[in-house]
């Protein structure tokens, strides 16, 4: 018979709210969000390390994510972009496996008149070809533009130092969508709220590994304390260089001039653009004060004009 390891021993004391009338329900809806939950104590920072060199592009992460988070499908459209029919990260796709076919001249030649293809092009071409695969996800930036942007405090850095959108708070202003330099977040057409990878916050709270990392058959997606992951990744890069894998590099494991490190970082074997990642992500907030300043000056100068006019001629 089945193991009972997860069965509740004590009968659950569910905090059932006292039955309330429509008015108090309305009031609760009004006031509820203003009640702050008591912040849990901070835990060691957790994150993802995605080693693209062992990714087989199976998309288990995508399905495992949809299953755990009960997300709807994004529609059945064949993109023709290699085996990538997911297309992009969105409010309903929190994992996205990318496929990059690297062959000499990947674009099909134009049809010729008689169409005959001469033999000499083939078949003695070298096989130095690559089919790169990478499972993309929210980067869980240490200083996350989306979190900085969020006007409602729906987006928080939770106790695991992950970026988490509180679905009961978000009001769908869309600022986080505009702020994300990686194009991770969109607003759900169903709920009107912004959604993205939660790094399985609910699972982590119970000591479980995020669904995608658990499913990944080749350990391309690894989850754990961020420091351990960084160390593991560093060793892996050295190993790859020893094996003569050119261009093995980390992405987002360390802060740059214009961006913090990412709590979901990658091991790539080519330039980030090839994988659709910005070469040098930029945190918009580096501009904010300057922009305020320029605006203030401009405002003052502008107001000075009517003021002068009023003082000189208006009196």
């Amino acid at each position: 018979m089945a193991s009972r390891e997860l069965e509740v021993v004590h009968s659950p004391q569910v905090e059932t709210p006292p039955s309330r009338g429509p008015l108090s329900a309305f009031l609760d809806r009004l006031i509820g969000p203003f009640h702050r939950g008591e912040a849990p104590e901070r835990k060691p920072a957790m994150g993802f390390y995605t080693d693209t060199t062992v990714c087989i592009g199976c998309k288990a992460c995508e399905v495992a994510c949809k299953q755990w988070n009960q997300l709807p499908a994004d529609g059945f459209a064949w993109t023709g972009n290699s085996y990538d029919n997911t297309g992009e990260l969105s409010a309903t796709s929190w994992r996205h496996v990318k496929f990059v076919e690297q062959f000499a001249d990947n674009q099909p030649p134009e049809p010729t008149g008689n169409g005959r293809v001469s033999l000499h092009v083939l078949p003695d071409q070298p096989h130095d070809v690559r089919w790169l695969m990478m499972s993309d996800v929210c980067k869980h930036c240490v200083a996350a533009p989306c979190q900085q942007a969020c006007p409602t405090g729906a987006i928080i850095h939770n106790e695991f130092a992950n970026v988490y959108i509180q679905p009961d708070i978000c009001n769908g202003c869309g600022y986080c969508v505009a702020a994300c330099p990686f194009g991770v977040i969109t607003r759900s057409t169903l709920s009107g709220h912004a959604h993205k990878c939660t790094l399985c916050y609910d699972r982590q709270k119970d000591g479980l590994v995020p669904a995608c990392a658990k499913a990944c058959p080749t350990a391309s997606i690894q989850f754990g304390p961020i420091d351990e992951l960084r160390e593991r990744a560093r060793r892996r890069v050295e190993e790859l260089h020893r094996r003569g894998v050119p261009g093995a590099r980390m992405y987002g494991s360390a802060p740059t001039e214009t961006y913090t490190e990412l709590h979901s970082f990658y091991l790539l074997v080519d330039r980030p653009e090839v994988y659709g990642l910005p070469e040098a992500p930029f945190n918009p907030w580096l501009h904010m004060l300057g922009d305020y300043f320029r605006t203030a000056i401009a405002g003052a100068v502008t107001l000075a004009v009517p003021l002068a006019a009023f003082l000189l001629w208006g009196a």
């Binding site: 004391q13 998309k59 062959f103 001249d105 293809v117 078949p123 695969m133």
Partner: protein, 926 residues
Amino acid sequence: MPGLGASFGRGAATTFQQDLANSDCILIMGSNMAEAHPVGFRWPLKAKEKGATLIHVDPRFTRTSALCDVFVDIRAGSDVAFLGGLVNYVLSNDRWFQEYVLNYTNASTIIQEGFQDTEDLAGLFSGYRGDGETGKYDAVEGHWGYEGCPGGTGDPAGSGQSFRVRMLRGEHGIQGHDLEGGAPSHSAPRKHMTTAPGGTPPRDPTLQHPRCVFQILKRHFARYSPEVVSRVCGCTPEELVRVAELLCANSGRERTSVIVYALGWTQHTTGVQMIRTAGILQLLLGNMGRPGGGIMAMRGHSTIQGSTDLATLYDVLPGYLPQPAADEQHETLHSYVEHEGLPTGYWANFRKFVVSLLKAWYGDAATPDNDFAFSWLPRVDGDYSQLLYFDRMARGEVKGYFLFGQNPGGGGPNAGLHRAGLRNLDWLVVLDWFEIESAVFWKNDPNGPRPAEIKTEVFFIPAAASPEKEGSLTNTQRMLQWHDKAIDPLGDCRSDAWFLYNLGKRLKQLYAGSTDPRDQPLLRLTWDYDFEERPRLPDGTVSRIEGEPDLEKVLQEINGYHLDEADPRTGRPRLVTAFSELKEDGSTACGCWIYSGVFPEPGRNRARERKLTDNPLQPEWGFAWPDNRRVLYNRASAAPDGRPWSQRKKLIWWDQESRHWVGLDRPDFEQEKPPDYRPTPGATGMAAIAGDQPFIMKPDGLGWLYAPGAVKDGPLPTHYEPVESPVGNLLYPRQTCSPTVRTFEGPLNLLAHTPTADYPVVATTFRLTEHYLSGPMSRFNSWLNELQPAMFVELSPELAADRGIVHGGWLTVESARGRIEARAMVTRRLRPLLVEGRMVHQVGLPFHWAFAGEVVGGNANDLTSLVADPNVSMHEAKAFACQIYAGRLAGHTPTPTKSAAPWPTREPVPDTPAAAQPEGRLGHGK
């Protein structure tokens, strides 16, 4: 999988998936492992991390190729040539593992005078009867047998009689009736091929005798030179040599290489011979029965191994006992055993297995007086395999049919013919979860007739999903794993077991009281699997379902029990603990002898065991047949003297103190037989197997480089072109295709014979990670459909340019059977290949789409043909001829029968608050 059985004795993967991590070199061929078995591919990758070399040989650059160190693309269907090239390289460069080959294979065995090889007969072996296009081999007249064995040496039992080539046990497809049915009237006992009356057949340890297997082998493969092979396969000679060198460098005492294959090999008219060639290669390199070695067959379905073992196949009984045929020799139990049994090797126990099966089925009705009711077993008088039977069905010769979770209307080769078959039934019973093609063929087939013209009466019985039922599955490494029932089935959904059990009960009622002898098998059939009390679900609630059979009782029957002994604990017959306990006097019953030991005592269902130990083989997780042996023929992991070949590759070895074979694995050998044991002349049974002969299922205990009479298309593999190919046979110009292939041409099954000019493009079908088979388990699932929503065809930029096809546009693929449309996936992952000095284009077709489900599209299997290889009636989907052109298909295109379900489909089950459970109870997420 006769290829394996013919070479080693058992038709199943010789090792287990985790063992791939112990390999030094992995040749993946005829398999797209990363895509078709992603989780299995975890293990080759672990090996790679440890420094192993991964090689992929395939017509297409796939997700598997992307992760391998070496990729060689060859023309679909030219695998025997490529493998032959490897064998030739090993032989001509003396890279074979001498001590292993000399002692563990039949290399030194001398073959009868008068055997003629394809070298002598331009592509045919001696004993051929036919016109070269279709025919049969007579192995006796062909003198395929061992020297001194009666099969062809004028021994009355064999001489001059048409010998029906049969595979040895360990494979299915044993009968080999020809299409017109009716087994030949006489056949020599199979023992006459390999067993000399006076002990072992003559051998030449020097391997110099011109008629010894080794010399025959050398001559046979001599012409498979890198240059010739490259011209056949389309690869370069250097590529072949590189692969050969890698395999040789990673074989021997210290290192082992493994070969992984899947349906990329089996779905050919020469599939069995491809696997045979791999077997020869692994024997020569000394990789069989050793850690990180062997041949890993990656099978397709959750229990396809189990369904083969338990024989939902027309020509075998459970445990690979041949289904009796309408032969004189099979009239009585005695003559049946005489003909099908072997005096030496483990099959000497044949009678025990048969009698125990009859006792399990007919109980008290099976007595020594009535031959244990042997005559009740139905006799086969023809080929009743799926392909042939649907051919018959299409001609209206079949009345009723049952589908248990299979979808021939979508996934059958030449699915159009399969649908025609379904349309010509009187009644059809479909047990499935969704309205699959085979259930709605009468209303949704875009190219079928109107419903008003289709007579078939259809019963759709909603089946229980796997979490809604319990039972065991046998995975690709022969391991049985039991899955528990989590919840009750929805509504009127029922498990197939429930359906079968209750149908059986009703039929028994309908026939109750009949005295007609023909009805006795049913009336006397043991059929009592009721639960003692209504079963409870894991959460403690009582199951709502009435009449569910207790499948552990069924498994106990499969395991076997002593009829003359009651178990004190239960009062029921005592269960056998291993097949060695089975008796031939009718005192034991056993439903499937190879599974004996899976239920050794009451309450101990070993398929259900989930115990982890520090033994890397994890022997207490599940149960692997036979007798929980994880690596077959593992006696070969030790040198003839019983010591491991090397410390690095030790698995089991002879322990002089305890005088036992010891080690990590259960020995696939008699535990107490010392390495130096030598049989006395005339010894029978296991006594005839020497202490250094690891292949105990073989009458001579040896691995068969040369397989006398084990396969129907020749004792040695030979390259033949597929039935449909644009090029002729470069190696044997006079013999294009397999001389024993069976083709069934008709208006519904036209063929483009090799070499064809009308269909110049080579097509091969393949599986995507995101879908499953013809889609019954994937195209009703939005999470999978969005990942691969449409049928597409992969083709090279050159071909696309040639036909004016643009990437992403529409194209039409046409074969002699039909046409389909698809989106064009123009990619460099496919290359035209230089074959016979001309360019041959290949296209890849995923076979996941048809006309029922959330996503629909062109069905690759509407293009494949119905042809049958001589051994197992396997069709040829991995290489056939087609023509492609730009543009959509005029006429009806399917529209989805289901719209994507909005998700989530129900309110989430409320969370149990943290307060309800102490912290730290959920530590199982690793």
